[in-house]
């Protein structure tokens, strides 16, 4: 089946098609009058679904036995400065493209009932997704950065206009923070460009360069921090809780679900892969920071009383596990880190969707104002419990598979740090179950007696996300093979397998 799919998909510029779909939707949305909300939603849904379906096909079409760059599209663009149109995917990319497809489709469904300026909202949302898809496929660093900026900038407007609470503050904080990250990334990329002396941004050619060790020691932290900000590396994480809390549902989903993964992806695929010596030098230091992420994020979540803040701090903690895997320097930990990106992306998308749906009904996110909601909304409660269980690393759900892999891999490199990191699973269990108990169990408050359960659209959104959590948790074999094929070369460059 894989061969058949691969031969089908290689007939067409599949990667371009996947990322261009949301862009076509954006153009169409410009032409649809804002009053026609139904058409706006349907166009958004149709085009994101096409990308989603294609990304599933792409996943199954990828040949993990062969590994490496596949479905390559390569044309000269501005050859004089080495800027080329170079799109390709490795195992990690197909998984992250799939993640993006899942999240945007579920995100559009979760925003189905949004009625303030839906046209502009969906335009920005889909534009953002175009950028995300692009980042996960571009193997020319200039192109990569271009897509990266497309993915980051719409966030400001999305939070500033459709957000809640102190949205201007949050939007400004988030954007400035991410811009600071971008500044570091662009300087890092230019460093790579000039340092190579090849005058090219093409990734595969830069891979052949053995950068001077001092150069690596200087530029690795620049790139890693730049990407790390987006992955909520401690202590650059405070944009994330505020940003998530203020953002509308779909934006939180995309943001925590895929944008944070852009950062982690950049850390691994740009910083570590291109500058392995720098990575070896800095990894222990960063590993300590990631440990702070894991434990500090989890403890921070314990003290929070707002659902979105709890989920946001839990994201900080879980992204710490991704980053820990990235610093560990072996293929097992890398595989775990990438799988955790996928797993956390889907899971946190689910979490924010659920929080949004709950908020839409109770009009509060303060946990002590809720209680016994499972009685009135059993389906939402069941989804919430399952998501929580995934978050605390219950086997048969994707979170466990990813975390255990990171732990096993990281233990080889940093035994002591890993032991402490694993202790985080106790704290996670504590705050997740506590949150579930307070919100969904116990006596139902009188004024919530008319709450309704998930409607079919919401249910579909949740079911799509949940399907992947369970599927990967129960049978991780294929996805792990696909991922592992792509991190092997990185581990090989780091000198550890």
């Amino acid at each position: 089946m894989q061969q058949f799919l691969a031969s089908m998909l290689s007939q067409i510029p599949i990667l371009t098609i996947i990322y261009i779909m949301p862009l076509i939707a954006v153009i169409l949305l410009f032409l649809i009058p804002g009053k026609n909300q139904k058409a706006i939603r349907i166009v958004s849904l149709v085009f994101s679904s096409i990308s989603f379906v294609l990304s599933i096909l792409l996943f199954f079409a990828y040949d993990w036995n062969a590994g490496g760059f596949q479905f390559v599209e390569r044309f000269d663009w501005i050859p004089s400065i080495g800027v080329n149109y170079f799109m390709a995917v490795t195992g990690t990319n197909v998984v992250l493209v799939l993640l993006t497809g899942i999240i945007i489709t579920a995100g559009v469904l979760a925003s189905w009932s949004l009625d303030t300026r839906p046209k502009e909202f969906f335009i920005l949302l889909l534009l953002l997704v175009t950028g995300v898809f692009g980042v996960f496929m571009a193997y020319n660093l200039f192109l990569f950065f271009l897509f990266y900026e497309i993915a980051v900038i719409p966030m400001y407007l999305l939070i500033g206009i459709w957000g809640t609470g102190p949205k201007e503050y949050s939007a400004m904080k988030l954007t400035l923070y991410l811009m600071a990250g971008s500044a570091l990334i662009i300087s890092g990329i230019l460093g790579l460009f000039f340092g190579s002396g090849l005058s090219t941004f093409d990734f595969d050619r830069l891979l052949t360069v053995n950068y001077d060790i001092t150069f690596q020691k200087i530029f690795f932290p620049i790139l890693f921090t730049g990407f790390g900000i987006l992955a909520a590396l401690w202590p650059f994480h405070t944009w994330s809780p505020d940003g998530h809390a203020s953002a509308p549902t779909a934006v939180s989903m995309l943001h925590a679900g895929v944008l944070m993964k852009l950062g982690a992806y950049g850390c691994l695929f740009v910083a570590v892969w291109l500058l392995p010596e720098g990575a070896k030098f800095w990894a222990p230091t960063i590993a300590v920071l990631t440990l702070v992420n894991i434990i500090y994020g989890a403890i921070g979540a314990v003290a929070q009383k707002d659902l979105k803040y709890i989920v946001a701090y839990s994201s900080v903690s879980h992204m710490g596990i991704v980053l820990l895997g990235i610093t560990a320097g072996n293929s097992v930990a890398y595989s775990g880190a990438v799988l955790q990106m996928f797993s956390h992306g889907v899971m946190t998308g689910l979490f924010f969707a659920l929080v949004g749906m709950t908020y839409g009904r109770t009009h509060t996110r303060y946990i002590y104002d809720m209680g016994g909601l499972a009685k009135r909304m059993p389906a939402l409660a069941a989804f919430f419990v399952l998501t929580g269980l995934c978050s605390l690393g219950l086997p048969a759900l994707s979170g466990f598979v990813a975390e255990i892999t990171v732990f096993i891999g990281a233990f080889r490199t940093y035994p002591v740090l890993t032991v402490i990191a694993i202790a985080g699973i106790i704290i996670t269990a504590f705050y997740v179950l506590r949150m579930i108990q307070i919100v969904f169990f116990g006596k139902l408050d009188e004024h919530y007696k008319d709450l309704t359960d998930a409607n079919p659209v919401e249910f579909t959104a949740l079911a799509i996300l949940m399907f992947f959590i369970v599927a990967v948790g129960v049978w991780p074999f294929l996805m792990m093979k696909v991922i592992h094929s792509s991190v092997l070369p990185i581990a090989a460059r780091m000198g550890g397998m």
Partner: protein, 630 residues
């Protein structure tokens, strides 16, 4: 893949099928759900019996693995290991689960979550069977967590009750602490051995490639898992609270099967455990301490299910102690007999609660006349757990006593004896107060015998509580000791008359004392309470362990959490906001320099030029020549 493996696979998967069918199709039809669930577990039970018969005929190891996740050299599999140990556990789990489910038709009748209940029980049965057939460390951990999940779901089954949801959370979190150790042990061990496979790991450890001290650490970490799941001190606190779940759940999960998983795990990894004598000593003493500690709490509890819960903790301690002193067969044998009589006790308690609608034993009394079947079966179980000849508990408990004696651990031997005394006393305190004497209050007047679908399982379990012990009568040719053993040679067993007599005397004394206090009133319970002084308060309040833990969580953990929150808000974010503030402030300050007057700019240019010249003059006098200097 031979027949035994296929049978084992089917036995394990059947209940999962039941769970899926109920969840997908029959949720609305209560009785249909129950029948689906029971049919599936009955099928499992049949296959378990087939496996047991096969193993009895030709004992041996059958092993088979399917790939689950391979990450380069790290290979995780889902496997099936069938040997004597597996076959015994398969039968216990499916048998008790089947009876409990039949019983639940009556007990859960009319509950809104009837179908949900059966689907969860099916999921539990599947997960437990997954633990039992595991052939590798990762798989046992996976299913270990899944049984924990089912326990969480079923304790919190009546989630609108705050106590139930509290207890569910507590059970999960406490088990998580244990599982943290277990997982570390697994990672430590598998990283060394390069595999998760039980057999390969055991061979690796046997080859002596691991430093003995490190091995002790690993074994103790693995044992942490058993501490949590089998509710050993100091992680026993969740089990009594878990009684908030429906009583059939208590019988199946929190008495007969899941809590025995810890003991089973130690037995499964016995080959590794025995290689670390230091760790074995810790295991033995923790088991012994838990046994006497929990028994002493059970003496004073008022809630019928809590007495039984502490009794379970105590008996699990017995099993752990047995394993710790090397009594592999004795421990597993006691696990088996205990599964029958403790399930019976819980189901009996459930029948009583069903009749009187209260858990407090002092509101009951005189129930023997109203509920004769429940009363008689309960009595049989009480005699069995007290270790009265010739019931099941007698044989298994004696074997543990013999094991401690032969291991040369008199302290543990006497601890076990005192525990046996306490066990007999609190069981008969419970029995007398509940079933004998006069009716007390409305509750016992309303009481009625439970329907047949509840009493028949009681009778079957009572039968098992009588006969199960004969499998382990020492000295006979086809006893369990010549079939289920660890190592090369079967453990030599002889009937140890002094031990048998001592234990019987101790048990009978305990029973008589209970009658003297609670039936004949020769000794006033009040006086007993006064005589024991502060010990009574300690026992009644469970040695204040819960209070200590709550204090640690409330005062220490929450304070740390608040501190982190403050730090994040004030310090980390403070720096961020400070950066923003400095930007804005410096912008405002620098704005003053943009005056728009040419003179000001000229002044700045002039100043800059002078500063540049001075700088050149200091650092590179030669450059001054460019400006026309000397």
């Amino acid at each position: 893949m031979d027949n035994m493996i296929i049978t084992g696979m089917l036995a394990a998967v059947m209940p999962l099928l039941g769970f899926l069918i109920i969840q997908a199709f029959t949720k609305k039809h209560h009785m249909l759900s129950a029948y689906v669930s029971i049919a599936m577990i009955a099928a499992s039970f049949t296959m378990a019996v087939l496996i047991l018969l096969g193993q009895l005929k030709t004992p041996g190891m059958h092993n088979y693995s399917l790939p689950w996740m391979h990450i380069g050299s790290v290979e995780m599999n889902i496997g099936f290991m069938i040997n004597q140990l597996t076959s015994v556990m398969l039968v216990i789990v499916t048998f008790v689960s089947m009876l409990v489910q039949i019983y639940s038709i009556g007990y859960m009748h009319g509950d809104d979550g009837f179908s949900k209940f059966f689907s969860f029980i099916s999921l539990f049965s599947f997960s437990m069977l997954g633990v039992v057939v595991s052939n590798n460390l990762m798989q046992i951990y996976i299913f270990w967590e899944l049984v924990g999940l089912c326990s969480y779901l079923l304790i919190g089954f009546w989630y609108t009750k705050p106590e139930a949801s509290d207890a569910a959370k507590k059970a999960f979190v406490v088990n998580r602490v244990g599982d943290f150790g277990f997982l570390l042990g697994i990672i430590f061990l598998s990283t060394k051995a390069g595999t998760f496979d039980f057999i390969a790991v055991e061979e690796y450890v046997k080859s002596g490639a691991i430093d003995p001290n490190y091995l002790t650490v690993i074994v103790l970490l693995l044992f942490c898992g058993a501490l949590g799941k089998s509710a050993q001190f100091p992680m026993h606190v969740w089990l009594p609270d878990a009684m908030e779940g429906p009583t059939p759940v208590s019988a199946l999960i929190h008495a007969a099967t899941m809590v025995a998983a810890g003991v089973f795990m130690v037995a499964r990894l016995f080959g590794i455990f025995v290689l670390s004598p230091g760790a074995m000593l810790v295991v033995a003493y923790i088991g012994g301490f838990t046994a006497i500690f929990a028994a002493s709490i059970a003496l004073t509890q008022d809630d019928i299910k809590r007495v039984l819960a502490y009794s379970t903790v105590s008996q699990l301690g017995y099993m752990v102690m047995a394993l710790g002193v090397g009594g592999y067969t004795a421990g597993m044998f006691h696990l088996t007999t205990h599964a029958f009589f403790k399930a019976l006790l819980f189901l009996g308690a459930g029948s009583v609660i069903h009749g009187v609608h209260t858990n407090n034993i002092w509101d009951m009394g005189g129930l023997h006349k109203k509920m004769p079947v429940t009363s008689v079966t309960f009595l049989i179980a009480a005699l069995a757990i007290s270790g009265i000849f010739p019931l099941a508990g007698f044989w298994s408990k004696d074997e543990i006593l013999v094991a401690t004696r032969e291991a040369g651990m008199p302290l543990l031997y006497y601890t076990a004896l005192i525990t046996a005394f306490m066990t007999a006393f609190y069981m008969f305190r419970l029995y007398i107060v509940t079933f004998l004497g006069k009716e007390k209050g409305e509750a016992s007047r309303r009481a009625h015998e439970s329907p047949l679908n509840m009493t028949v399982p009681l009778m079957i379990l009572a039968l098992m509580s009588v006969v199960a012990g004969f499998a382990g009568v020492p000295g006979q040719e086809n006893s369990i000791y010549n079939w289920l053993y660890h190592g090369e040679h079967p453990h030599e067993t002889h009937f140890n008359m002094p031990v048998a007599i001592t234990s019987t005397v101790v048990a009978v004394t305990g029973i008589l004392l209970a009658f003297a206090v609670y039936f004949f009133n020769w000794i006033k319970a009040e006086n007993l309470k006064k005589a024991s002084g502060p010990l009574y308060a300690l026992s009644k309040n469970k040695f204040y362990i819960d209070e200590i833990y709550l204090f640690l969580i409330k005062r220490c953990f929450f304070t740390i959490a608040e501190a982190v929150k403050w730090f994040d808000k004030q310090v980390v974010d403070g720096v961020v906001n400070m950066a923003a503030f400095v930007m804005r402030w410096s912008g405002r300050a620098l704005r003053n320099t943009m005056t728009g007057r040419v003179q000001d700019y000229a002044l700045v240019i002039f100043g800059g030029a002078v500063a540049a010249i001075v700088a050149f003059a200091i650092y590179n006098p030669a450059a001054l020549q460019l400006l026309g200097g000397r």
